[in-house]
């Protein structure tokens, strides 16, 4: 299967560790995958900010880069949700619309790809320790992603997951985080309260955008916080020395 890795912009520039972990997951499945050069942003910020037309160039670029793939995989539910909306954008020719709809159906969030598309639930991973798992809104409600990440985490050797479903949105919301920063921060605080109640400082989620927002809020408040993308649990970097639980990670640790 020709698998292409689609790298969310904030993974590309701010959290490459999540992308590398996703790469390791694809490796562990023995897949023939590549990462096309020339990727950009999926265009979601423009779409969500009320400028859907400005996501058109990104949609067309995405199609050029990925149309040849049999499956496109991204460590981000919200980006995949955007890709699946491309065919609804205004200004597309009918043929473009069809191609983008088809491509969207072949584009998957990582956990979705592994569990629902490949039928794999155990990646043979080992990660001793306790983490909390919280849903990201686009994962839950745009992709219907609930079981897949949980099943994958359940199979990780030594891992204790404190599952925290039914929480309110973390408050990132894309441009919302900077348009309504006060309410956004209040929402983040509630998620951090939940994390504290889980008895761990490590939060695992499917979207790095939410984790960056929560990490920023935690650091401002002086709270211990380590945000890990699901892939970083499923395919830990063999070369890294894992910090002791409770310590704060900086980005320098791959």
């Amino acid at each position: 299967m020709r698998v292409r890795l689609f790298v969310p912009c904030y993974v590309e520039h701010l959290k490459p560790a999540a992308g590398l972990a996703a790469a390791r997951v694809l490796d562990s499945l023995g897949l023939d995958w590549t990462c096309p050069d020339g990727q950009g942003c999926c265009g979601q910020p423009a779409f969500n900010a009320g400028h859907p037309d400005e996501a058109l160039p990104a949609a067309r670029r995405f199609r050029r880069l990925f149309d040849a793939a049999e499956a496109v995989v991204a460590p981000s539910a919200s980006c995949v949700a955007m890709v699946r909306r491309y065919h609804h954008l205004g200004g597309l020719a009918a043929s473009e619309r069809e191609a983008l709809a088809d491509l969207g159906a072949r584009t998957f969030e990582l956990c979705e790809f592994v569990v629902d598309r490949l039928g794999v639930t155990d990646l043979g991973a080992r990660w001793p320790g306790r983490v909390a798992f919280q849903d990201c809104c686009h994962a839950l409600r745009e992709l219907g992603l609930f079981d897949a990440p949980r099943r994958l985490l359940a199979a990780v050797d030594g891992l204790e997951v404190v599952d925290q479903p039914d929480l309110d949105c973390c408050g990132f919301g894309g441009v919302y985080a900077v348009k309504l920063p006060e309410v956004s921060a209040a929402q983040a605080d509630l998620r951090l309260d939940a994390l504290a109640a889980a008895g761990t400082d490590t939060l695992v989620a499917t979207d790095v955008s939410c984790l960056l927002h929560l990490e920023g809020r935690a650091r401002r408040r002086g709270l211990p916080f380590r945000g890990l993308h699901v892939a970083e649990i499923l395919a830990p970097d063999p070369a890294a020395a894992r910090p002791a639980p409770g310590a704060q990670t900086s980005e320098a640790t791959p």
Binding site: V7, V11, E12, H13, L14, K15, P16, G19, L20, W33, T34, C35, P36, D37, Q39, G40, C41, G43, A46, N48, A49, G50, H51, P52, E54, A55, L56, A58, R60, R61, C137, H138, R141, E142, D168, C169, G171, F172, G173, V175, Y176, A177, V178, K179, L180, P181, E182, V183, S184, A186, Q187, A188, H213, E215, G216, R217, R219, R220, E251, A252
Partner: protein
Amino acid sequence: MRGNALAAYRRRAARALADATLRGNLRRATDTALAKRAARLAEIPDYDDWREKVAAIRRAGWEDRAALVARASAHLAAAGARVHHAADAAAARRIVAEIAADAGARLVVKGKSMLTEEIELTPHLEALGLEVLETDLGEFIVQLRGEMPSHITAPALHLNRRQVSRLFADRLGAAETEDPEELTLAARRHLRDKFLAADVGISGGNFVVAETGTLVTLENEGNIGLSTTLPRVHVALTGIEKCLPRLADLDPVLRLLPPNGTGQQAVSYVSLLNGPAPPGCGPEALHVVFVDNGRSALAASGQREILACLRCGACLNVCPVFRNAGGHSYGAVYPGPMGILLAPYLLGDATAGLNPGNSLADVCSLCEACGEVCPAAIPLPDLILGARAEKERRAPASRRLAWRLFGRLAASPRLFRAAGAMMRMSLRVLPAFLLARLTPSWSRARALPAPPPRSFRAELRRRHPGRLS
């Protein structure tokens, strides 16, 4: 509030967020509402099927509104009711004022009606010298406080018992008490005489059955019943989108509205009025006012599907923004997700000063929980995005240009790479205070991310160059 709507929202929200009492009240109330809703939904097998039925019924309500209102009006008129049609809030207020004047009215009692809040009826009648009393307990409370309701089904949701006790002690001379039962009794006693003395009773109309010309009101307290059986005149106001095509449509609607609205299987009283009461058995006159007030304009817009709204309030209870900053932050009688969509069209003339170009469409973190809970299956998240696009079409050219440039950047690999590199370098090199100055909206409440030494692409090139293509 004729300035920038978002700025005004942020000011009010900041105050609300600093109010620990309010936040506690909000959380407890909305958590309770959601828990009760969940319990009731668990008791409804085939909930999704019922939801589909309700969605279809409510869609017909606004799509076919002209025919349905005409049919309902004809039946009501044939039964002896006086039917009026008001194009806007001013017309509606005039009609009600005339009815009250013709009746020689001095005292008016009101059931809870969001539409009457929308058209700002009470201040208008009071300015004409009438005494107007809200009789729904929550509305009565906020009327005493001089506030607007903070939630469309639970008007006093933002208050706790101590605050109500102090209010009643102050304004009713009641003894202070923490007991909600005693507080309710104090309101009951105070209002009972008013029901008996009132000249005119005003109600809303949750729905009107077009097939039979039947006005439908839902309540738990009995205040609408008293307001519409004791005074000489009953005036009912309803929106033109509120018709149910057939009598049988009541069943699905009454099956889903109470669980989503108040967490009940059924409300205490559903009144189905086919026309005026026979002599001596109720009010001498029944007036029904069908109000447009922006609904036709909304029906012509991209957000028309919000006209299916049942006014249950479930979307408010589940909205994280509402749950944190409350209803008053919106500065409009329709708050929360439904309010974002209704207010620009229905409250355009009201003091809220909202319109499609100056709306609260940004007051949403796009979590999509609202769309999940809506019993009429209104695609609220998509409509909010549409309202946002609507607003941005009227944004200053500079902002539209900025997003045009972003769009280009997002699709240009070179620009994208350069922008990313610049961002990483800035995060690494610039002093913290300068970074904070450059990103005030992020940095006021959050630390900026620590920059990675290399981009993902650079890392991949180092470790797995064969995977690059």
